[in-house]
């Protein structure tokens, strides 16, 4: 059965897009990630215009993280104050990102920008995760104890003004670094169609030294609100949110995520991280390859978007 996507303006097979949502949902359920970094490239690969893939992606991420965020909130794993600072930064970053999308589309460099961003971030995050997980697997095999994180270490972060007390995170730090992290993540969300958890979680752990227990909940809190704002802004400024496409992906994603959680429970943490790293690097290489190999068609056509 085919369905016509009103914003992407294309007729697509319902079964194909449902199973795509399902597959991405499975992986995100298994690895505990948002899956935006898989979904957006997959949509582009399926012929959905890049801007629509990115815009619709934020709607799908909102749907897939909202229930997780509520569950974390009930378990009191959300630092609301920290979350609000991250959201405030995120909204600013998203607004800048959505504006940049508009300009880049007009000058015809949006696809390139998205591809380069993906290669850069997926390469860096996937590479680091790969090194870390391989080390963890080796240590687990050799039987050495995993060294605990040293607390009380001070870094340059602690010298900044506007200090705030984040009770649940047990931190007394400047509001600027979390706001900056939030802004950066919001920007990535708008231009790449990702939740940005893969940047936010390591940044919160290693830069802000937020306790691991509240990191996931707080980042989900930020993702829900920033994705909501991003969806709204993309719909208003770029008109690239396809509700029909999003519903297909959400329905598939919800089903897939349930199965993924079950599959993920059977694997060890470092094994999961290794597999996730491999997946991230594969997506990175796939996009990178497209950039450097001579394309079969060097011309492309597009509508006029207020200038060339």
């Amino acid at each position: 059965m085919n369905i016509y996507l009103p914003i992407a303006e294309m007729s697509v097979n319902v079964a194909v897009f449902l199973s795509m949502g399902c597959a991405v949902g499975f992986l995100s359920g298994m690895f505990g990630v948002g899956g935006g970094f898989l979904l957006t490239p997959l949509l582009i690969f399926m012929g959905v215009p890049t801007a629509v893939s990115v815009g619709t992606g934020s709607m799908q991420i909102l749907a897939s993280s909202v229930s997780g965020a509520i569950a974390q909130y009930r378990r009191r794993n959300v630092d609301i104050k920290m979350g609000l600072v991250l959201v405030a930064g995120g909204v600013v970053g998203a607004a800048i990102g959505v504006g940049l999308v508009r300009i880049l589309r007009q000058i015809g460099q949006f696809d390139l920008f998205v591809s380069l961003s993906y290669v850069l971030f997926l390469g860096a995050v996937g590479g680091l995760m790969m090194i870390e997980s391989v080390g963890a697997i080796r240590r687990a095999r050799s039987g050495k104890a995993v060294t605990a994180r040293k607390t009380g270490q001070h870094s340059w972060v602690h010298g900044l003004p506007f200090k705030m007390r984040f009770k649940r995170s047990k931190l007394y730090i400047s509001a600027l670094p979390p706001a900056a992290i939030g802004a950066f993540v919001g920007f990535l969300a708008a231009v790449m169609g990702v939740g940005g958890g893969f940047v936010m979680v390591p940044a919160m752990i290693y830069l802000l030294r937020v306790p691991t227990s509240v990191v996931i909940g707080t980042s989900l809190f930020q993702i829900v609100f920033v994705m909501g704002v991003t969806t709204l802004l993309q719909a208003m400024q770029n008109k690239t949110v396809d509700v029909v496409l999003a519903i297909l992906l959400i329905v598939g994603g919800v089903i897939g995520a349930q199965l993924g959680v079950i599959a993920g429970a059977r694997l060890k943490g470092e094994q999961l991280r290794f597999l996730l790293a491999a997946l991230v690097l594969l997506v990175c290489l796939r996009i990178g390859w497209e950039l450097i190999v001579r394309p079969g068609e060097i011309y492309s056509i597009g509508p006029l978007l207020g200038g060339i």
């Binding site: 016509y4 303006e9 007729s11 709607m59 802004l233």
Partner: protein, 304 residues
């Protein structure tokens, strides 16, 4: 011979019969209008129907489209439209088929064209190992859709001059480069961009040459042609131009229009998204949040 029976018989007989009536009826009753509709007749004894008239009447083509309005709904998977028509005063021999030279007496070309719209064409080049859009051309008006069907390949029907004047064939699609070209492109470069539009549109099945025998004759004056609109045909009015050719010259042309409109929920959503972007965005946000909550709630119950 009664005038009523004349309708079924040959035209010449009708004329002769009417002429006979004219002689007996008072002039005032018939009026001038009636006389003017009659072709010039030779008065006198009835002529056999096989005789050639002194001057060939001018052939004209009339055509129409089976569907005046096509609705693009959420489940739209394409639509086949039938362009049909007739040649008035056809002199095509009854048992036509293909004659010795393989050509027919008349040639008919049907062109279905979508609404012209501005198109930006971009060209990538290798910049330090990465393929980047480096130059672009704006064509102010390019048909969104272009399908052509004909009795024979068009280059056998007429010369490039005639085809160019009527914009028949991919090579003669009207594409005017618009403003905004940052530097002067040579004709050669421009033709590369032009060719790219045609190639990419063909790849999307939006520029189509209907297969051989795109237009077929039924009898001596009726013809038909089916044009398959693909699922991705851009909405907007379509113009179906029908040309009648004889010996490489256009004898007559006819234009019919088809409206291609978004209908149903699909149209509502598209219009809504563009007219009320804020409300649409809010609905998208609420919908996503609800869908996420409902989905997990549903599965939790299933699992528990």
């Amino acid at each position: 011979m009664a005038p009523i029976a004349a309708g079924r018989t040959d035209r010449r007989l009708t004329v002769a019969a009417c002429a006979a009536v004219l002689l007996v009826l008072p002039h005032a009753v018939l009026g001038q209008g009636f006389q003017r509709t009659l072709p010039p007749v030779q008065m006198g004894p009835r002529q056999p129907p096989v005789a050639q008239p002194p001057q060939d009447p001018v052939e004209t083509v009339e055509a129409d489209v089976s569907t005046r309005s096509v609705e693009v709904t959420t489940g739209f998977t394409g639509h086949e439209i039938l362009v049909f028509g007739a040649i008035d005063n056809s002199q095509q021999p009854e048992s036509r088929g293909q004659d010795q030279s393989g050509s027919s007496y008349y040639d008919v070309v049907v062109v279905v064209e979508g609404t012209p719209y501005p198109v930006v064409v971009r060209r990538k080049s290798d910049v330090a190992g990465v393929w980047i859009n480096t130059s672009s051309v704006l064509f102010a008006s390019v048909p969104s859709y272009y399908a052509i069907a004909s009795t024979r390949p068009i280059d056998q029907i007429a010369g490039p001059g005639v085809l160019e004047r009527n914009s028949i064939g991919f090579a003669h699609i009207k594409m005017t480069p618009g403003g905004g070209i940052k530097w002067k492109l040579s004709d050669y470069e421009l033709s590369g961009f032009r060719a790219a539009v045609i190639r990419l549109k063909q790849a999307e099945h939006l520029y189509v040459v209907e297969a051989k025998d795109g237009v077929t004759f039924t009898g001596r004056s009726l013809f038909r042609s089916t044009i398959a609109l693909p699922a991705n045909v851009p909405v907007g009015p379509l113009v179906a131009r029908t040309y009648l050719f004889r010996n490489g010259e256009v004898l007559s042309a006819h234009i019919a229009r088809v409206t291609l409109e978004r209908k149903g929920i699909e149209r509502v959503l598209h219009d809504f998204a563009f007219r009320y972007p804020f409300t649409y965005g809010m609905i998208a946000v609420i919908l996503a949040a609800l869908a996420g909550l409902l989905g997990t709630a549903f599965f939790r119950r299933e699992v528990a």
